[in-house]
């Protein structure tokens, strides 16, 4: 658990309780795109008494305060992304894994010229398969 976690929450106008810090220290430092229940499972390892409602409350609070984004990319689950910068997403159709692609990996032209729509935000959504070995990533560090 990072020492600066509480400070980070306060910076965003969130009172730092023990549960919130516990949730933050996982969800803000993973690139696994966990669902709410994934987060619950993880946080329960350390705090078995934490309720599902708290997980949902806290994640929604984080989204509202701009610490997280939530993504609707795959069926039946809302997933959280600690990367709040602009970026694209690749979905592995075999495993369901979601990967972030840095913004400048791709270039989208003519967005400005679309007629009749005010575009506030966009991203490219790619589907296919990740090549080579299954992802070896392990730790939460970023």
């Amino acid at each position: 658990m990072r020492p600066d976690e509480a400070a980070r929450l306060e910076e965003h106008g969130i009172k730092a309780s023990a549960h919130r810090v516990a949730i933050a220290s996982y969800v803000l430092h993973t690139d696994e795109h966990p669902s709410a229940d994934d987060v619950w499972a993880r946080v329960k390892q350390a705090f078995p008494m934490v309720s599902r409602a708290t997980i949902y409350n806290t994640l929604n609070l984080f989204v509202e305060k701009g610490l997280l984004r939530h993504l609707v990319l795959t069926e039946g689950r809302l997933v959280f992304d600690s990367n709040v910068e602009k970026h694209h997403h690749f979905i592995d159709e075999g495993t369901g894994q979601i990967y972030d692609l840095p913004w400048d990996t791709l270039k989208v032209s003519r967005v400005k010229q679309i007629k009749g729509f005010d575009v506030r935000d966009y991203q490219v959504l790619l589907r296919g398969r990740k090549r080579g070995r299954k992802r070896e990533k392990k730790s939460d560090s970023r």
Copy 2:
């Protein structure tokens, strides 16, 4: 109801029952991106006895046979798209409406060069607001 509807189903290896034709004649000719329950509501106007399971069965069958695509773009609902060609999507953040953008409206470069991923398919997903008058579209014709 189009006379050619049944033929279109058969072409795709789907036996044409009355319900299937009824569902097809709405869902294959709309650009409203309806959810399964939207389809149910609509089809019930003509066939009040149709069950929810049939709607789901039929829509899933259409997807499987390539007559429809299903999209997961907005929270909590799977939506169907009769446009099976490559295209992009714009979501109006005010109304939740989904609009199709023709493939060549935008140009995405460097997709081929992405390392470590086999891209099978991609699209640009834009969010913002549609400008001007609320959509005036009415009929199902295409």
